[in-house]
């Protein structure tokens, strides 16, 4: 028996690892980040957590660091750019649940963002004659209202074939925008001023969460983002997540295997809508003003581009995609006018050359299957099954 480098690395495990690496190299076809992903997968759990901690600290420090070259100044305020990136990342994580996990093409996602924004505005803005509640309470309320709309739209349309869903959601996005214009209570282009903000006053007497200072809002948004990521990660690994993957890969087969596809599709839709509403509420608070102008189809498509660019089905990819889509036009102001053209072309080119996006989704179920396969293969190569067990015994 050969000597081992560490306590966890047994000879079988090494063969296993090689087999897995070979497999994953073959499936990702030499993606830009495939070696990185492999290295990540090889780290032990505590190492992964330690690394994540560093990433989180850097993320929190980002608006204060204002790194040269990366910074969007002087064109755009850097903390506000960070905030935009965080909000886009949150939206992309939400849309990723719908498009990436469950494979439902939602082209009207901005509608849920709008619902969240309007909920926050109507409960906090002095322009609104209705009940007023503290801003932070509007976050869960906006989420609930958006989820309600998600179910409302999902129940009738999710029984349909996938491509009809695309056009119905596209229509829904337009309807919400048009209703915001037509319905007097939504105040059309006049909109709502002075949307609320979380409590707290700085030393100089100004509120901490002001519309001109992006940093506190950014911190709030990435805190929310981290919570949502943990929840989404758990969902992804749960029975629900497995059902979503099954639906995405083959809906008929999933149905035959006993997955209640309709129920889980509605769940995906509602959860995605809820996250969209949440990000809308955050965005409305941070900007302090909303009207009917921002919630157009173009924005929906930008959201979709973020998810697809990052890697549909991969939440880390969604964050990356969202941040990139928000960052590029703000950093390179020369391309700001071309952004819709660029991201439209990006969608087409990605689908042709790299449909999996920058960070391809990890197929967890298949990955487990590969582990099992590699173990069996390694054992049969090592000779008799008893030899393999003896090996494991010595390693222990």
């Amino acid at each position: 028996m050969s000597t081992t480098d560490g306590p966890t690395l047994i000879p079988d495990a090494k063969a296993e690892q090689d087999a897995i690496t070979r497999e994953s190299n073959r499936t990702t076809r030499g993606g830009f980040f495939a070696p990185l992903a492999d290295r990540w997968n090889r780290l032990s759990r505590p190492q992964q957590w330690a690394f994540l901690l560093v990433v989180v600290v850097i993320a929190y420090a980002l608006p204060v660091l204002n790194p040269p070259l990366i910074t969007s100044e002087p064109g755009n305020d850097w903390p506000i750019t960070c905030l935009q990136m965080a909000i886009f990342a949150l939206v992309a994580v939400g849309l990723n649940v719908v498009v990436g996990y469950a494979g439902l093409l939602d082209l009207g996602y901005v509608a849920f963002f709008a619902v969240g924004s309007y909920t926050a505005a109507m409960f906090t803005s002095p322009d609104s004659p209705y009940l007023h509640i503290p801003y932070l309470w509007t976050l869960p309320v906006a989420m609930a209202v958006a989820m309600f709309f998600g179910v409302l739209l999902g129940v009738p349309t999710l029984r349909l074939r996938g491509d009809y869903l695309a056009i119905v959601t596209l229509g829904f996005g337009e309807i919400v925008r048009i209703l915001a214009t037509i319905i007097p209570a939504m105040k059309g282009q006049v909109g709502f001023q002075n949307v609320g903000h979380p409590p707290g006053t700085a030393a100089d007497g100004h509120p901490i969460f002001s519309n001109s200072n992006g940093t506190p809002w950014y911190w709030l948004t990435i805190t929310v983002l981290i919570v949502i990521l943990l929840l989404a990660g758990n969902l992804e690994r749960s029975r629900v997540g497995r059902a979503w993957v099954a639906i995405r890969e083959d809906e008929d087969a999933a149905e035959i295997m006993g997955v209640p596809t309709f129920k889980y599709k509605v769940w995906a839709f509602a959860i995605g809508a809820g996250i969209g509403g949440l990000s809308g509420a955050l965005s409305a608070g941070a900007t302090g003003f909303i009207n009917n102008q921002k919630f157009d189809v173009q924005t929906s498509i930008l959201f979709l581009a973020a998810v697809v660019l990052g890697g549909s089905g991969n939440k880390v990819g969604a964050i990356l995609g969202g941040a990139v889509v928000a960052y590029l036009p703000l950093r390179f102001t020369a391309i700001a006018d071309y952004k819709y053209l660029i991201f439209g072309v990006v969608l087409v080119v990605l689908m042709i050359f790299r449909a999996k996006g920058l960070l391809p989704a990890r197929q967890r179920l298949l990955a487990y299957g590969k582990v099992a396969y590699a173990r069996v293969a390694a054992r049969s190569r090592a000779g008799s099954p008893t030899a393999a067990t003896k090996t494991e015994g010595t390693a222990k």
Partner: protein
């Protein structure tokens, strides 16, 4: 909620019923022509070609540029009837060619590579929406956000009077020309050799290939036919809405045309005509009933959702594959 945001103005609908009907039929004919493009591509590839609305709007630009360079402007032209007809025919041909070339380019550049690598459905849809977006904003960069200057083709003259409402020459020309084009398409699909190929591919692409049908050629032909019809629709659209040609002008019309195709039964050529006319009527009645032109779009979407819920196959069924005259 304010309770005044929606109100039903029934007397107004009664009063304007016939003019709304004739106008609705005119718009419906245009929807129908564009809807044919969606229906044909859907029949053959099972793909919602989101970018078809951009195929249409490029046809509109072709028409407007041709007419402008021929000296047409916002005022009624002072040409003889024959000269006008000649110019309009030229504009029609340019519009049809512009749209057909766009449709073909789209097929070659965006969809064919995906077909070659057997991409999943989602990839096709994302490509379609991406292409639609890219073309739209390509136009935006070249032509800006404001609409092209209006082009008046001729002064509509009253032709006859029905129930106290005047039907003018413009409405007659659009509806009749659109119906002729659609019937011609229907007959082409039913009777010609290429049409048989299209139906065969719609029915079963693999078997069709085995029977000697060149699938790629059929798909290209389908895109070209859809483009030609969209280009024709573009001429009538410019005729009806002279100042409606701007970069995003095709988008909403495209969604409505798709709704029309679904309403009639997607994949069904006759369904596109029926769905277009019905949707034109419903949209116009809804607009007058609810008292704001913005409602047309809302009404069209609600109709689409209702149709999908109650009868997803549409009124005439999705029968291009099966139809045999």
């Amino acid at each position: 909620m304010d309770d005044s945001w929606i109100s039903f103005d029934i007397p107004s609908l009664m009063q304007n019923f016939w003019s709304a009907t004739f106008d609705g039929l005119t718009f419906g004919a245009i929807y129908g022509l564009v809807a044919l493009g969606y229906t044909l591509v859907y029949g053959v590839l099972n793909l919602i070609n989101f970018a078809h609305s951009e195929v249409f709007i490029i046809g509109c630009y072709g028409v407007v540029f041709t007419l402008t360079s021929l000296g047409f402007g916002p005022n009624v032209p002072t040409l003889g009837p024959l000269a006008i007809i000649g110019d309009l025919l030229l504009a029609l041909i340019v519009g049809m060619i512009a749209s057909a070339v766009t449709a073909l380019a789209l097929e070659r550049v965006a969809y064919r590579p995906l077909r070659k690598r057997n991409a999943p459905r989602l990839a096709f849809l994302i490509t379609a929406i991406g292409a639609s977006f890219a073309i739209q904003y390509g136009i935006f960069l070249v032509r800006g956000a404001s609409p092209e200057p209006a082009v008046t083709m001729f002064q509509p003259t009253p032709i006859f009077d029905v129930f106290g409402t005047i039907v003018d020459s413009q409405q007659i020309i659009i509806v009749i020309a659109a119906i002729i084009l659609m019937v011609a398409t229907d007959q082409f699909i039913r009777r010609s050799r290429t049409g048989r190929g299209i139906r065969a591919v719609a029915q079963d692409p693999d078997t069709a290939t085995l029977m000697g049908v060149d699938r790629e050629r059929i798909i290209m032909t389908t895109f070209v036919i859809g483009g030609l019809l969209a280009g024709a629709g573009a001429l009538f659209y410019v005729m009806k809405v002279p100042s409606g040609v701007f970069y995003a002008g095709g988008f909403v019309l495209g969604i409505k045309a798709f709704a029309a195709a679904v309403l009639g039964g997607i994949g069904n050529v006759r369904g596109a005509l029926l769905g277009g006319l019905l949707l034109g009527l419903i949209g116009n009645y809804g607009q007058i009933l609810l008292g704001n032109s913005q409602w047309t779009d809302v009404v069209a979407f609600v109709v689409l959702v209702l149709v999908l819920l109650l009868k997803p196959t549409g009124i005439l069924g999705t029968s291009m594959g099966r139809a045999r005259a």
